[in-house]
Symmetry: C2
Subunit: 450 residues, 2 copies
């Protein structure tokens, strides 16, 4: 384990650079100069020596350099529940499997171990920033800082008692305490994470709308995920969920609306006008048969669409490369248009669109001078990714996570030739084995699956 912090100036020399902005651009024979935690320059290799005499060079042959991926919807600690209950509908999965298991194991120790497992997986897959939605964000934030990973951690609000908080007031009190504790941490942002319209009351939503404005932070919400949510909202509140959120002051550019499979054509212009960001989680939506978010139409209407993996319990991996591919594929087949969400657009959704939704567009999400050096390199010289006719197509449609070789967050090399430098892999695996035992015992399950 090598605790390399951000270093002085050095030049990365990959075969290709995909800066993401402008969309579709592929640079060859360019160097990316990193100084401390930031990108200092992107220059033709021929001009490197003149502008940066004697600079340290890191050759990255046959590799493409991309901005680190931004995972816009994670429940990190749930990595420990990967594969616990599959092939089930959302409400049975939640009520009969996930929530009972969480009830038994929820606490700082579980969140610490689970978040560490998730971060190890995400970093090795080229993700440099994640937007988390879970309990004990203070514990998760400590793990993320220690791992050198960037994250936005949510303050949970849900309409029933959990080990994190008993009452509505306690949810807000503990959340705001967490916010104050981490607000100055450079790698950590905060958000509100009310669970969903069906599990959070009007009073709590109104309070969130006010506080999010005061603190200038996003509201990260499961919204219109599965069939029945419109009907139950009308029955309980007399309103469509979008009308209810609008009335409560939440339908605006702070809102990160996750899933959105239950919207129709009429909702799209309204979402565009309001500046709502949509977070698409195609693997999870497909696996739980929740429905299909009309990503191509949202994108065409100017809605900022980003991509998230959801938790490993409903995916069952935390790969944004896979989720990008799925975004493109599902958009094409569901719209009947093979030109919908082309590869370069999918890559934008997994990088700069996420940065924009988090209010961090000037800091991350593309490779440009002045931005944070959140970067990933992918090798394309393996059998699985040869030949290379189009670098961006290759990244989106063919590259497996295992070909991500090196990752930097704020200039710090957190993955080096596929090895984690800030986390001890053996320790992560050992703790994972212990938790598997503990969870299996708690729920009376047999790991063999028989």
């Amino acid at each position: 384990m090598n605790q390399t912090a951000a270093q002085g100036a050095r030049a990365l020399l990959p075969r290709w650079v995909v800066p993401v902005v402008p969309e579709g651009r592929v640079l060859e024979d360019h160097a990316v100069v990193v100084d401390g935690e930031r990108i200092a320059a992107v220059v033709p290799v021929a001009e490197l020596e003149a502008g940066h005499p004697g600079i340290e060079r890191l050759e990255l042959p046959d590799r493409v350099l991309i901005p680190g991926l931004v995972n816009m919807h994670a429940h990190s600690a749930m990595a420990l529940l990967r594969g616990l209950a599959d092939d089930l509908p959302l409400m049975r999965w939640l009520h009969e499997n996930i929530w009972p298991a969480e009830k038994i194991i929820m606490g700082p120790d579980y969140v610490r171990a689970g978040t560490r497992l998730a971060i190890a997986e995400m970093l090795r897959a080229g993700t440099t920033c994640f937007n988390d939605n879970y309990f004990f964000p203070d514990v998760a934030a400590e793990v993320a800082v220690a791992s050198g990973m960037r994250s936005v951690m949510g303050m949970p609000v849900i309409g029933f008692p959990t080990p994190w908080a008993e009452t509505e007031d306690e949810y807000f009190r503990r959340g705001l305490e967490f916010h104050r504790q981490f607000v100055d941490q450079p790698l950590i942002g905060t958000s509100f994470v009310p669970h969903a319209p069906y599990s959070v009351g009007d009073g709590a939503f109104a309070r969130i709308a006010q506080l999010a404005g005061e603190l200038d932070i996003p509201v990260h919400l499961h919204l219109l995920e599965a069939p029945g949510e419109v009907e139950s909202s009308r029955a309980e509140h007399g309103l469509h969920p979008l009308d209810r959120l609008d009335a409560l002051g939440l339908l605006g550019p702070r809102l990160l609306a996750v899933h959105m499979t239950q919207i129709d054509a009429g909702d799209i212009p309204r979402l565009a006008r309001a500046g709502v960001h949509v977070i698409h989680c195609p693997d999870s939506n497909m696996k739980l048969a929740s429905g299909i978010c009309p990503v191509a139409d949202l994108d065409a209407a100017g809605v900022n669409v980003c991509i998230g993996t959801d938790g490993a319990a409903s995916n069952n991996d935390l790969s944004l490369l896979a989720e990008m591919r799925q975004t493109a594929l599902l958009a094409k087949v569901s719209s009947g248009n093979p030109e919908a969400v082309p590869a370069a657009r999918a890559l934008s959704m997994a990088t700069i669109h996420g940065a924009r939704a988090l209010g961090m567009e000037d800091e991350i999400g593309s490779i440009a001078p002045g931005k944070q050096a959140d970067l990933a390199t992918i090798r394309l010289d393996r059998i699985e990714t040869q030949p290379v006719f189009d670098v961006i197509s290759q990244i989106v449609y063919a590259v497996p996570d295992s070909q991500v070789t090196d990752v930097w967050v704020a200039g710090r090399r957190v993955v080096e030739s596929r090895e984690l430098t800030t986390l001890d892999e053996a320790e992560v695996l050992e703790s994972c084995r212990e938790w598997q035992q503990r969870i299996s015992t708690a729920i009376g399950d047999d790991p063999g699956g028989t």
Copy 2:
């Protein structure tokens, strides 16, 4: 490169064995005894010594042993066209990109290099048998035999001249010559591969129906892949493609019908009655926006559904693990039923269902005494696949190809700790680089993709 042939008796001792038949079964503490090219026994480890004293043991800790995967629809050589033209509709993709490129490069050298690249990728991903559909099957078969991989190679028939054959008669003559040349090769099967109803005439189809019966081989056909095929068949032949094939004597258990996205509920009982096998290629169908094959309904009606990757030019990988996952996910979201195609069923589709369609159910597709030792081991001890609550869920929903460690075909270890033993990886890559150059020059493309 280690040209290990099938050895004498030895016992494989993985942590888990998933025999596939019976569906859903997971064995722990079992050994699989392999003798020569066949599986001799599956026994509890405690009984191994008594039944097989002193047998050579291969410990496979933290690994699951599965039957080798059966890729039911490949255009292997097209691996060299991976990423050449993406985000395009089927007919533009075929007519403006793939066919013009093929016209320039088609020949034995291209097929040799491309098939070798595809086999390298497929073996490393746990695929031990592929059902191929391309030109120069004699060349592809030579490569497959030399690589120690099992395959069924098709005799192409298409209604226009290609470098393989000029006239209908020549297609049949060359095809049957190939059949005679390879009929006694234990690793090679043969089939007819008429391209599609819209590109093959009645006379050729009738001849295929007769010859396939005489030779007792399958007919592997692109069928109802994309919108418009029903209408154009009615316009040209006055018949729905299924009626036309029925009239020509092809709608029966020899038919391997690939894609089938344009069928409706009324077609399903008819396909079941006829014993047609359906080959589902979800990644390709999604990427080309061809449509969605109603796999859950076909399966429920008793149709034998198998899985194929299609060619790398429309996928863009040859991973059956990914295709299994996609089969399960797409079936769930398109049927609105999260219980559709559960993990164990997806695994059956990628193994024993394929074997059944090829008429090889007694030889391959599951782990059972007397069957061919076509096997793959997958390590589950990495961060990306921990914890393990359900082994089969893990294989289908979480395992990346890079965790396939060892592969045997007919008892011969063709992949050993991720290294190919029958192919020289450096040579495959070198030849791939040459072909990329040749193809780029031919079509005037710039590899940078800019």
